[in-house]
């Protein structure tokens, strides 16, 4: 469904993605793991058109979408939930969702938008309870749910999730993961996930990639990745020069 071939990205003169190739098949959950600064977020930003791709190609559903503007990619069916719960804090939960569904309104009108919102409320009953509250007053887990719900409002076929468990209590994080697995099944979504909590993320994933300083080191089934020595090393962000100690 999504294919990246030899993608290179730069921040100024610094090359942060070095010929990265990866793929996500339809209906799969794929996790990217790696230390801070490995380039995981940049990959997601490149896919959703928020970061220019210097060279290489990105294919979505067999169409070359390299260099497409972000808004067009959202219309094509790629939803992006950025890092750090980017919601509109001074607005109510309901208004946030309406904003997330602006495309639905544009194409199908108010009625459809309303039914979409009530569908999302079914999925996240907590948000329904808090629909008139300011988004900024929600708890961390609820804000994360709102961020995901906003992305779902646009009716994506592929969802990019950037560290959904960041700054959340372990129990809430577990809840978020089970929800991700749940609606992924329900909506037949394809998910590309970045996660610091590799163990929890791999538990719901099919496959995973390990990154280090802009390169992919390992591609494997999720179960096998957990026991991979390279994962432990990359994940701890510590390069062990000495192999034989």
């Amino acid at each position: 469904m999504l294919r990246l071939i030899n993608v290179n990205c730069y921040y100024g003169l610094v090359r942060v993605l070095k010929n990265v190739s990866l793929h996500v098949a339809e209906g799969e959950i794929v996790t990217l793991i790696g230390a801070n600064g490995a380039g995981k977020t940049t990959i997601l930003r490149a896919i959703s058109g928020l970061h220019p791709v210097r060279s290489g190609n990105i294919y979505f559903e067999n169409r070359d979408v390299t260099g497409w503007p972000a808004e067009r990619l959202v219309e094509t069916g790629i939803g992006h939930v950025p890092e750090g719960r980017q919601i509109f804090r001074p607005m109510s939960v309901h208004d946030n969702l309406e904003l997330g569904g602006h495309l639905v309104y544009k194409h199908y009108g108010r009625k459809r938008l309303k039914s979409e919102i009530s569908e999302v409320f079914d999925m996240f009953p907590v948000l329904h309870q808090r629909r008139n509250q300011y988004a900024g007053t929600l708890s961390g887990g609820e804000q994360q749910m709102l961020a995901i719900a906003m992305a779902l409002m646009a009716g994506p076929r592929m969802l990019l999730l950037d560290e959904p468990s960041m700054g959340l209590a372990p129990m809430i994080a577990r809840d978020i993961f089970s929800r991700i697995a749940g609606f992924q099944q329900e909506r037949k979504l394809t998910v590309l996930l970045i996660e610091q909590n590799a163990r929890a993320a791999l538990a719901i994933s099919h496959r995973g990639y390990v990154m280090e300083t802009g390169r992919i080191l390992v591609e494997e089934e999720a179960g096998a990745l957990l026991s991979n020595p390279e994962v432990k090393r990359a994940y701890l962000g510590r390069e062990r020069r000495e192999i034989w100690e």
């Binding site: 190739s21 793929h23 290489g56 390169r215 992919i216 591609e219 390279e230 192999i243 034989w244 100690e245």
Partner: protein, 430 residues
Amino acid sequence: MTYWNERTECMDREAVCQLQLEGLQATLNRVYKNVRHYRKLFREIDFMPEDFTSLDMLKNLPFLTRRDLSRNYPYDMFAVPLREVVRLHTTSFNFEEPVVIGFTGNDMANWAELTARNLAGVGVTRDDVVQIALTFGTMSGPFGIQLGAELIGSSVIPMSAGKYKEQVKVMRDFKTSVLVSTPTVALGLIQAMEDLGVDPNSLTLKCGLFGAEPWGEKMRSEIEAGFFITATDTYGLTEVFGPGVAWECPAKKGLHIAEDHFIAEIIDPETLEVLPPGREGELVITTIGKEAFPLIRFRTGDLTRIDFEPCECGRTHCRISRIFKRCDDVLVVRGTSVVPDQIGRILSQAGGFEPSFQLVVDRAEDKDRLMVVIEATDKFFFDEMKKQRRLVENLHRQVSEFLGWEVDVRLVEPGTFETGEKVVDNREFD
């Protein structure tokens, strides 16, 4: 037709290429970081793995030979710390320094998957009883089959080779349905069955996997007729897992290489150019899924042809033709690789000087026989015949001991060797 893993065995070409590119990029990044040998090699040709963008670039990378591997004896080719390694094997090659191959836990799981594909592909299920008549030792062959069979859930009998009469008894009484062995052992078992008066109809065998040495269609029909089974070929090298690298599906039209784990190339052994599909040349294997012992462009020394046409069995992975010959002086006899240089070294150790010699293999009574033919120079002439005989006996014992099975040693007149060839293979593979 049964598949073990239909999604990967039948994936389309585009998906195979994507998988291979990703796997190769990751492997190159990893070996550059973790293995000194590759780092040095890549720096010499000024290549950075992160600049690798297409599978076509593979042909610019340097080759890897068995000499390179043995030069890095024992652990210098490993890409993971030794503590991650759960299994060590050595090759059947008898260099002074052998090659040590490590497997991580994931490597073992992948290996099980590969051999399970092979076994399931020829019809093995969890209801089968698999008799493995291969020697359980430092070589990896029987262990891979065991892993795969156990993954499928069939019952494994680790019989080792030899002791034919006991094997036949086990085969009959344990209701063995799948036999895995070398072709020579299979023929030995057929002979033992005749000697014991066991009717092949009284056995429950349904299929057999044979490999580890070259065997032709004639031998295949002998084995099939002797056991009333279908016999298929399987190919593997200890350097690259072992069995499961390539195997024959029941269509018997070439051996499928697992392309989601290996990239196969065919090169001209003289010019080292990559040859187009259909031309015969040396098989070169690059692994894209191995953790502990990744290989980039490893020269196998085996001569074959490659075919990318989809097979009638529905699998899309490319096929190589059956392998009968090698492009170097190495002889594969009775599952062992015999290197002439090594034999020469033993002869010189045992006799005090290195004679000029030739290795001759032929097949008699369904058995491969190796003969070491030595030119009798004046160094072999003593005042007593007894001394000469003792010397020849000594050579015979040393070489047989080294290889683990009986060889003939014969003296001939000087000047008998017409060519400078060190090996003569008189076996016929049709």
